[in-house]
Amino acid sequence: MCLLVATLARAQRIEVSAGAVAVTNSEVDSTRQARGPGLGIDARMDRGRWRFEVQGVTASLDADFTVQPDYAVHQLVASASYFWEPGIRAVGGIERRFVSPDFAGQEVGLVRLGLGAETRLSSLAGIEARADWLPVAWFSGGGGGGFSLGLGLGLRVGSATGRVHGLLEYSYERIDRQVNGVPSPIRFSVTRLGLGTRL
């Protein structure tokens, strides 16, 4: 497996990163907001005009109010991007969020379509942003997604050709869930601080 990865690494650019995350998840109203720290990992492969990315996050969330129990959330995101211009890409992906224990929060499945932009601030840092439309959403408690959007902002500090870089990222989702016509919105955000390396 290591040999396969090393061989693939020589053919294209592969990065992995890991770091601490701060997650907030809020459903229905502000009394059900929960937040907490966790860990996140990310693997990215750039090949020609394509980028493939897989992210994983796990966090323990503490509710601000007793009406909401504490729970753990685990998220997996897989996405593919196509750069039709240098720095400008179309993104498509799927996302799955699990909650433990069951029913402490909504488990969510999403399809993500969006646009991304990235640029180098200088030889030592780069910045990227993303705006997503979430056309398809599935919830463990039922209901529909409505008009759902997401955004992301990321900062990468390190030489473009260097092996190690630092990263500071933020992603946010606003899902206008409705259950039997009753608004049950969901807000989910992840702030990540970590280190990455190029294989």
């Binding site: 601030l121 200088s122 959007l149 500090v157 500071l168 946010y172």
Partner: protein, 339 residues
């Protein structure tokens, strides 16, 4: 006079420099003294007497010169001309000094010169030139209209190198080359100029001895740089760049604006912190990058300029190498007159 005294006089006469005219011949000396005393009669008589005696070459020259001066002073034009003709044959290059001799004598000499065929004042200006691309002038004077041929004699060569018909001052440009065009070997040569008026009237000059030496051309040095041109630095530090903070503000501002457009805060304000932290961090990093000294960047203009300079330098050195190859194959001839 005792024998001892006579011996002393002879010894003194042989060892002292010839500062007096006709010192070896007392009669000629007498004639000179008479001429200097304006006693032209006795001068004439003594000179004729001297000419009947065995004289060396120099004394004969002096005698005929004195004869011509004396006849000229006595207004005997034809005798003066005849005497000067003999003088010209004996010493073609000898001329009466215009500052010391009267114009009448000078005109008689010129008249004599015009009546005889001689080649005089054969000279060569020492010079140096590349074989095949230069020449050395040989100058001479022919007293009458005649066919003049210049002959070169040396090791392995004896041939006529120039013919012309002229009177008066003449010049032959000698290329110092063999009949096949190659430069003559180094060595000593003789140049003889012969004037021929008819089958019975011909005069050849004394040989002009010249030395030909071979040398090599200096080669050109290779260049390390083109004179007057310097390479420019290929990495230049640009002026302070505010682009990083501007981009950070743009991205951060748009993301923050979109966030606050999406999030109305009704589900809590927990998500705002992360957004502000990341956006603020991006702006801070952008500001720091803008305030630091910019990284040196490659200058396309300087890179192209340096590349052009190197190409020109390479081309010039190739030309120099070719020129040096030609120079090494060429011979520098130095021709000097040997007195």
């Amino acid at each position: 006079m005792s024998r001892f005294a006579a011996l002393l006089i002879l010894l003194a006469g042989s060892l002292a420099p010839r500062i007096m005219v006709g010192q070896t011949n007392p009669v000629l000396r007498q004639a000179q003294e008479a001429y200097d005393s304006l006693d032209y009669g006795n001068a004439l008589q003594a000179t004729r007497l001297a000419l009947q005696q065995p004289l060396n070459q120099e004394d004969r020259i002096i005698a005929f010169e004195l004869l011509g001066f004396t006849y000229g002073a006595l207004d005997s034009t034809s005798q003066a001309v005849r005497a000067f003709q003999e003088l010209i044959f004996l010493a073609p290059d000898r001329e009466p000094s215009l500052e010391r001799v009267s114009p009448r004598i000078t005109s008689l000499y010129a008249s004599a010169l015009g009546q005889v065929l001689v080649v005089r004042r054969v000279t060569l200006d020492s010079t140096a030139f590349l074989a095949g691309s230069g020449s050395v002038p040989v100058r001479f004077y022919v007293s009458r209209l005649a066919q003049v041929s210049t002959r070169l004699i040396g090791t392995g060569i004896d041939e006529v190198i120039d013919t012309t018909t002229l009177t008066g001052q003449g010049r032959m440009d000698w290329t110092v080359s063999a009949p096949d065009g190659r430069p003559l070997p180094a060595g000593t040569y003789q140049i003889i100029v012969t004037a021929r008026e008819s089958s019975r009237s011909e005069y050849s000059s004394e040989p002009l001895v010249v030395r030909v030496t071979h040398g090599a051309l200096d080669t050109l040095p290779h260049l390390d740089a083109l004179p007057g041109y310097q390479e420019q630095p290929e990495m230049v530090t640009p002026p302070r760049d505010w682009r990083p903070v501007a981009l950070a503000l743009l991205y951060g501002g748009l993301a923050t604006g979109a966030f606050f457009a999406l999030d109305d805060g009704e589900l809590g304000s927990g998500a705002q912190t992360g957004m502000l932290v990341v956006a603020g961090g991006a702006v801070a990093v952008g500001l720091g990058l803008s305030l630091r000294h910019p990284d040196p960047r490659p200058s396309e203009t300087n890179i192209l300029y340096n590349r052009l300079l190197r190409e020109l330098l390479t081309r010039r050195n190739q030309e120099i190498a070719q020129e040096n190859a030609v120079r090494r194959s060429r011979v520098l001839l130095t021709v000097t007159s040997v007195h």
